[in-house]
């Protein structure tokens, strides 16, 4: 799909010359030079905090560069505001959805357009039809899940008819089905001569749709070239910190069926039902990772949140280490030894304006002291987690919001694990974090397993589920479709079960 070298003689659609940017003392971009031609799909990859989003926000006019120039179709432009960028045919689908919660999906998408409303609606309907996404246009945006929000953001970008479309981790919350249809549209766009920046942490995607790869590290472009020149291994090498030794995640032998049966399950979910799911039966044993696969909207988050005491139980029971905890308050459930790590880090996970220490200790203050805060203990605890989890901070008093995404995720994990849980429910623990951090998170999960903690792992990333899980339950439309033992865990099996088409061998 790459363009032939002849095309390179034309003027680049956008040309970035020597762009630099720093925030206070933090140098984020160092003299970036990049030319992108018509119809290219440029995969921009790099670790958390490498500066990808910052560069894109400069193109969108959200940030002003400290130095450098931008040319569009050979003409120098001043992208001083998003409207300037828009009038130059640039559009950014942001990493974090920025919808208008009180407006409908349709209003969210069409606001700010100059065209007639009726025309727009027709175009929009056609687009959704083409994508095959299931989105009601009159729903209020505040009722959308994070994945649905991302769909709306993408629709907004696609409808814009921009010449240069930037997609900043558009698929981080999406699953197979949506990603596939999105890629189809991207391919269409790029054959129509539209230039696309595509940021992702999922390297397989790079090979699926990109024509060119750009690797950003510490604000500099360290590798660049047409996609054919690379393979996945090379990209990983290019991404990881130079002195990084990959944590050897040797998959332990899965707890065998027999061995498991001899133990008591740590978490038992019996005929459990609530809003969005029903008839769920699951058992998680100590030292086991049970994966929970499914497509967006399968009801996995609802299941987890209901177990955690945040939503109404309609039927069934949850038993933790022999004790029934059905319908208890989250606070009591945490005390009993179950913790849930929410999927939306920004909404439910971190206290971005507070420092790392306050975040890590937020769940255990009651244990540190009754009324007053024992600073000594809380510092020790924080330092221990910073060290154990290799959280990259300037100190335990760094503001959490200023950490990179992966490190924020580690803080969220530390906060959860500081409660000394027997059961951990992880909901999308690696969404939006880079390969290095992902390795660290996997290592942490493994350590939990070794300590005998029961882990319920919810993830939309099938490879992740396969890599980590001892057993996998697949959820489809609110039910557990099938539970796979270790030897049955394959991409095909999980995929078909997630889409509700898996047929058990005995019935087949």
């Amino acid at each position: 799909m790459g363009l032939s070298n002849d095309d390179r003689t034309q003027t680049p659609a956008i040309s970035i010359n020597g762009i630099s940017k720093s925030f206070a003392t933090n140098v984020v971009l160092r003299k970036i030079n990049l030319d992108v031609y018509q119809g290219e799909v440029v995969a921009l990859i790099g670790g958390n905090g490498a500066g990808k989003s910052t560069l894109m926000k400069i193109l969108m006019g959200i940030y002003q560069p400290d130095g450098g120039e931008i040319h569009i179709s050979g003409k120098k432009v001043n992208l001083c505001s998003p409207s300037a960028a828009l009038s130059n045919g640039i559009y950014l689908v942001p990493q974090e959805p920025m919808l208008f919660p009180n407006m409908t999906v349709e209003e969210n998408i069409v606001l700010g357009f100059q065209e007639k409303r009726a025309e727009l609606r027709l175009r929009l309907e056609a687009l959704i039809e083409n994508l095959g996404w299931d989105l009601k246009l009159d729903r209020k945006a505040e009722s959308l899940s994070i994945a649905e929000q991302q769909l709306v953001e993408i629709l907004r970008g696609l409808l814009r008819n921009s010449k240069i479309l930037i997609l900043d981790e558009p698929t981080s919350a999406l699953t197979f089905h949506e990603i596939e249809s999105l890629f189809r549209i991207i391919t269409d766009l790029h054959s129509n001569g539209i230039s696309i920046f595509y940021i992702t942490h999922r390297l397989t995607e790079v090979f699926d749709i990109a024509t060119r790869v750009v690797v950003l590290r510490d604000g500099q472009i360290t590798m660049e070239g047409s996609v054919g020149q690379f393979n996945q291994e090379m990209l990983i090498q290019g991404l990881l910190p130079t002195n990084y030794e990959r944590a050897a995640i040797r998959k332990e032998e899965a707890v065998s069926d027999k061995k498991r049966k001899s133990k008591k399950p740590m978490l038992e979910i019996k005929d459990f039902g609530g809003y969005g799911f029903s008839n769920v039966n699951l058992e998680v044993y100590p030292g086991e990772i049970l994966g929970l696969a499914g497509v967006v909207g399968a009801g996995r988050t609802e299941l987890a949140v209901t177990i955690f005491g945040k939503d109404l139980v309609k039927q069934g029971a949850v038993i933790l280490d022999g004790e029934e905890i059905t319908g208890r308050k989250s606070k009591q459930i945490i005390e009993k030894g179950l913790i849930y790590v929410p999927e939306d880090r920004h909404l439910n996970g971190i206290y971005s304006m507070r420092d790392v220490e306050e975040n890590v200790t937020s769940g255990v203050l009651g244990h540190l002291n009754k009324y007053f805060i024992d600073r000594k203990k809380s510092r020790e605890l924080t330092d221990r987690y910073i060290k154990d989890f290799r959280i990259k901070v300037t100190g335990r008093d760094q503001i959490t919001g200023s950490l990179s995404g992966g490190n924020q995720q580690k803080v969220v994990l530390a906060k959860a694990l500081a409660t000394n849980p027997k059961v951990v429910i992880l909901d999308e623990p690696t969404r939006g974090i880079d390969a290095g951090a992902r390795g660290d998170v996997y290592r942490i999960i493994h350590e939990l397993k070794q300590q005998g903690v029961a882990v319920l792992l919810i993830s939309s990333d099938i490879e992740e589920v396969i890599e980590l899980s001892d057993r996998v339950a697949a959820m489809y439309q609110g039910r557990i479709n099938h539970t796979f033992e270790e030897n049955e865990i394959t991409v095909d099996n999980l995929m078909s079960a997630s889409f509700g088409v898996y047929q058990k061998e005995e019935t087949a």
Partner: protein, 343 residues
Amino acid sequence: MKIIAEKMAKTRELFTVAFMLLLFLITGLINPSFLAGDNLLLCFNGSVIYILLAIGVSFVITTGDIDVSVGATMGFTAAVCATLIRDGSSLMTAVVSAVAIGAVIGLINGLGVTKLRIPAIIMTLGINGVVRGSIYVYTQGKWVENLPAVFKSYGQISLFGFVNLFLLGTVLIVVGTYLYLHRARKGKYFAAIGDNIGGATLIGIPVDRVRITAFVLSGVFAAIAGVVFASKVGFVTPTAGNGYEMKAIAACVLGGVSLTGGVGSVIGAMFGAVIMSSISRILVFLQFSSNWDDTITGILLIIIVVADALIQTHLKEKARKERLAARDLKAQSHFEEKEVLAG
């Protein structure tokens, strides 16, 4: 009935209207003369000042800011307008000066909030103090009185025999702004900014300009209210408009304009203002002591917002549950199908 109830809960203005009618009806049951046509008209006529203030403030609140300087602005512009009229200026000059002053105060607020990035409540609180002090400087602490009878008579002009000129003008303004805010492409910008300012910036809405516009409009509407005040009341004291900012905000809230921005309409604000300004009248008709004024205002305000909050939470929960249950249902039918196939 149920449909009406649901519609009411969804269209927040209807809820306010229903509440107002209920209030009027109860008063009318106790004292039927309250419901006499001309008295109801009087109630609406008497609300014009509050309505104008509330519309202005609702622009600002819709963009997610707040303006607590409208009371002072109204007082100042009323004093300026009244002084000019008293000293023989033409009506045109007086109105234009008042509106210009209102616009300038709004502009200062807007620039402070957007360019100096001062939180709106602080900026307008500060300006409120400055403007209020300026009224004393301007009037030297004296009342502006003895306005010419013609000027005062504008408040009495009726069209078609019963529609008060000011009321008609105000209603037209309300309808006009409503159509602009909810139908015009750019009108939606106000709500969009209040909803998510970052998102609004991203899709190219000139955020600062719209926010400044909102403050300017707030000032302008306060100025128009000031002119109406001068004409209707007939004299202007330096304390005119004291505490009106809180009542204007309360009127917006009663009318369903959310203080977090992005939600609500000027129609709601209008009816909220009618409720606010009718309370003291209603008490007279109920032969209740005026001592109960604030208590009743407080209770009504709390009842209506609590009812609203409960209904909204209920609706949201219901919608969520229905959506989730629908998924589950699909699942059930699917499972059944499979069983049928298998069987």
